[in-house]
């Protein structure tokens, strides 16, 4: 049994941003040489999430519209009263989506379905470096 871990550094940009990291994840899985096992993808932040979706412009636009209904960008958030940061909408949006995924590895690759892609969704109003931890367990 092997356990291999790495961290991806990404720059999703300011505000609502969706980044496709499928190829980076698949590259790491290949490099580990693990044939059968599991992959954990973990997002290390409270203003964003890791989802499986289709990286298509229309879907990304629709997701933004749905998130805007849930937690508007210009809404009023009690968190802002402490006047440290003003990213209440990002925290609320992130709370409704996962910060980690488990994906099976079979015959040396992730068993993603036809249209499944691994995406980071972040809503932080400032542009910041973001980190995704990948951990493969298997043999």
């Amino acid at each position: 049994m092997q356990i291999k871990t790495t961290t991806l550094e990404i720059y999703p940009g300011a505000g609502y941003a969706v980044e496709n990291i499928t190829h980076l994840v698949n590259q790491f899985v290949t490099e580990t040489g693990v044939q059968e096992g599991q992959l954990v993808v973990f997002y290390k932040h409270t203003t964003g999430s890791i989802i499986i979706g289709e990286h298509e412009a229309g879907i990304i636009a629709d997701l933004e519209r749905a998130l805007e209904l849930l937690a508007p960008k210009d809404g009023q958030y009690i968190q802002h009263l402490r006047q440290i940061d003003f990213n209440g909408n990002a925290h609320i949006r992130a709370a409704f989506m996962p910060t980690s995924l488990i994906i099976p590895i079979h015959q040396g690759r992730t068993v993603l379905g036809t249209h499944q892609e691994i995406q980071v969704v972040d809503n932080h109003p400032e542009e910041l470096a973001r980190y995704v931890v990948l951990q493969v367990v298997g043999e």
Partner: protein, 219 residues
């Protein structure tokens, strides 16, 4: 399935690395994490002036050097960016196999002089006819978004509905579709091939939409 007549490929980010990434790689190669963010923001803003024709390559280099407090001279930076630039061969191979029934257009967001040098080196004339290359800087746009979404179909003499854009920038792609211009977000070559197959542009007998066992078909 919708049928398109003209397919536009962005140069920076699809056929080669974006100007932003190439510049950062030359000027601040070791800077990572949040330390790189102020540089990214400033160089992105500068690089954004190029496709609008606001600055030329020489000014771009000079200002980028100032932003990054580099000791390089502007000509040296220009020559390094050009020398290190590489063609995305996989994408070029995909474009070469787009059937002739589709017009292939190239959208150039690099300085024209740099593009001409790279295009000659990579023989891009075999992929894109000269009269199907759009230099955004020559369009005299006040702003790239959303103006470019309307200008590209106009350049091709096509309705917006007849056009498909292969765009490396997710946010710009989303804005394009909101304005009615269809896009494929470019991430990596295999994915582009799959997306082109879904649109019926990449010819295959495989059922790419609903394949057996719900596994992405290998094309």
């Amino acid at each position: 399935m919708k049928v398109y007549s003209a397919i536009f490929f962005w140069f920076g980010g699809v056929l080669t690395a974006s100007l932003l990434e190439r510049t950062l790689a030359e000027l601040i190669p070791g800077v990572k994490g949040n330390a790189v963010i102020p540089f990214r923001q400033k160089i992105r803003s500068l690089a954004g002036d190029i496709p609008l024709g606001k600055i030329a390559s020489q000014q771009y280099c000079q200002q980028a050097i100032t932003v990054c407090q580099s000791n390089l001279g502007a000509p040296e930076l220009a020559s390094r960016i050009s020398a290190a630039a590489s063609l995305n061969e996989s994408v070029a191979g995909l474009i070469a196999r787009v059937p002739a029934s589709y017009e292939r257009w190239l959208v150039v967001d690099y300085p024209a002089d740099w593009y001409q040098e790279l295009a000659a080196r990579w023989k891009l004339g075999s992929l894109f006819q000269e009269n199907r290359t759009v230099f955004t800087a020559q369009l005299k746009l006040l702003r790239l978004i959303p103006d470019i979404f309307y200008h590209l179909p106009q350049e091709a003499g096509r309705a917006m509905d007849d056009c498909l854009v292969i765009d490396p920038e997710s946010a710009r792609s989303v804005e394009a579709i909101k304005h009615g211009l269809a896009t494929i977000i470019y991430v990596y070559p295999e994915r582009l091939k799959h997306e082109l197959a879904l649109q019926g542009i990449w010819q295959t007998e495989a059922n790419v939409l609903h394949p057996a066992a719900s596994e992405r078909v290998s094309l």
